[in-house]
Symmetry: C2
Subunit: 363 residues, 2 copies
């Protein structure tokens, strides 16, 4: 626990002086002030994170943690748990949605086996652009409907692996990190975390995940409800230990480590938002480094973004996970930042500003 | 008018057979069906437009029409009319928001002077990536608060210039066109068109544009209201002639020409949406080729998208125009299309589909 406390102690807030100077520049650019909406906030916050008036997010990396969930034994997902391992192989071959979207965002993809239970199918034709890190903490979590999902040490190990990957990203001069995940059953885990963390009822935060039918959905709700009732503790670490999953713990560490490294991160959907919310639960300042890529249709995602008070960038009716919403939003963040850096000012472009009207035009 | 009728007569609808086949493929890709939300619709519609299961939107072009508006004589904008010409020079130097966003979308920029009144400042350091077409139909429209903005011939000439540019895009193998515009005063014009076309009151469709204060805003509303009352005609061509502007007429022609050329187009904000709505008023089938890049905060934009029944891709609180929202949305459209083409199917990736659960898992 000392390592976690030490990690959190190294997180500083973003720099409000640079944010203020960025807003001054923002208001001189050749556009009516405010006319780029959310993009103006994004650019100024990145300036505050990077402490510069020439912020840059051109080196992007998606970190996709994969792990299994013991709670799938209860039958909470219509897909078999083997799909986690099969999808990891699909990521390595470059055939998944996240691969296509990462290519468009010019983002590297790092896939991390932090606890996949089934053997990962051998991939002959792996993509050179995809890096694979195999560091399973254990073969999936324990079934949180029956017992605690993780030991304290397993939880810590997974968090520290995530923070180490943030540290490596810093060494690789990565300027924007996207959060991704894969784990059959993990919407059940995220629902339990969300209910525990926000105090909202399990009915509000539990959704259908990857297509649960009515009977699976009812079962899922009752399992989340029972688990949240049993685990009274509301602090972030206890919730993470109680429900898992290993990929969520890795993401928590990545969020905390990115804040230490002053790298902005992009949350994806429900699962990554549950990790971000846990990280903020452990260290509120970590939030200043977070952008929300999109709003998914999974109901708990909205509850978590409201809890985090972060406005999502995109709202496209997506609910795929993998990091797809984060990868898509990276282009918007890059546009915000490049617009801020590359645009001319009224003065440099010789464009008449609004103020001149008061002097020059009588009506 | 025969040329316009002939142009409209050449527009065919998109191909529903290809759309249907695209949905079949969409449902085999390694993701839960429907989990990519709006992106799935986008990809299938582009497949129907291009008549292929390997759609492609990798060659993109922003076409930015610039023109002045006689109605600025009434004092409807806080910026002097000279800003239109000054911003054209800014576009040519690559210093505007649309330049930065087009670079991120890997889109060419074509700037068209279709009726700028003030002399365009000489640009020594113009960007090689920006093409400039000088073809002013006349030096701005007439003041529609006093008289008809355009003659029938001027209106036609501007429309035909736009359709010619769509034809050229086809020859250049452009696969996605974004609509852009610049014209001080043009939110007043677009408000008059919107009220005339949708039947909504001028109070609903008139906004503050590029930062009108209360007195300018009140004046603007009363001018729109008076103009709409005077011009009883509700057909698209009459409205365009009555209110202008030349850039809007050019955009109408571009929309119609793109539909003939079977090139998907991306609407930007309020001004380009007014042009798209006029084009649909002239030929309802043209709508099948249109995507709405974003929802701007200008109130008339929402009214027009509701009239068009097109769901916007982005909603970022933007109200800049120039084509900025369209350029940003191009990345999302490309992600939708490339995801569709590049993703593996459940079968090709060896990933277990949901159906197998019914067989293999008992609970």
């Amino acid at each position: 626990m000392n390592q976690l406390r030490e990690l959190i102690g190294r997180i500083e807030g973003i720099d409000s002086t640079w944010v203020g100077m960025a807003w001054e520049r923002q208001n001189c650019l050749t556009k009516p002030p405010g006319s780029l909406g959310l993009l103006e906030d994004i650019a100024c916050r990145v300036a505050g994170i990077q402490k510069t008036l020439t912020p840059c997010v051109d080196r992007k990396r998606m970190v996709v943690f994969a792990a299994d969930h013991g709670v799938t034994e209860e039958g909470v997902s219509p897909y078999p748990a083997e799909v986690t391992a099969q999808m990891v192989a699909n990521f390595l071959r470059g055939g998944a949605a996240i691969n296509a979207f990462a290519r468009i965002a010019h983002a590297e993809v790092v896939v991390v086996d932090i606890g996949v239970k089934s053997p990962i199918p051998k991939v002959e034709d792996s993509q050179a652009s995809v890096r694979f890190i195999q560091n399973p903490i254990r073969p999936g979590t324990r079934n949180f409907a029956q017992e605690l999902a993780l030991t304290e040490q397993e939880t810590l190990d997974a968090i520290l692996l995530g923070s180490k990957l943030a540290c490596e990203a810093k060494e690789d001069e990565i300027s924007l990190i996207g959060l991704g995940e894969m784990g059959i059953g993990n919407t059940t885990t995220a629902a339990a975390i969300s209910a525990g963390l926000t105090g909202r009822s399990s009915a509000v935060v539990t959704g259908r995940g990857t297509g649960a039918d009515d009977s699976i959905f009812a079962l899922k709700q009752s399992i989340v409800d029972g688990a949240v009732r049993r685990h009274a503790a509301r602090d972030a670490f206890s919730l993470l230990r109680a429900f898992g999953g290993l990929e969520i713990a890795g993401l928590v560490g990545l969020c905390l480590g990115a804040a230490v490294a002053r790298i902005p991160i992009v949350i994806d959907g429900f699962i990554t938002a549950s990790a971000a919310a846990l990280a903020v639960g452990m260290c509120p300042r970590a939030k200043e480094y977070m952008f929300a890529g999109h709003l998914s249709t999974e109901p708990g995602h909205r509850a978590l973004l409201e809890f985090l008070e972060i406005r999502p960038i995109l709202n496209l009716g997506m609910r795929l996970g993998e990091g797809t919403g984060a990868a898509l939003a990276m282009n918007v963040i890059e546009a915000a930042v490049r617009g801020f850096v590359e645009m001319a000012t009224f003065e440099s472009a010789g464009v008449s500003d609004k103020q001149e009207v008061a002097k020059g035009v009588s009506r």
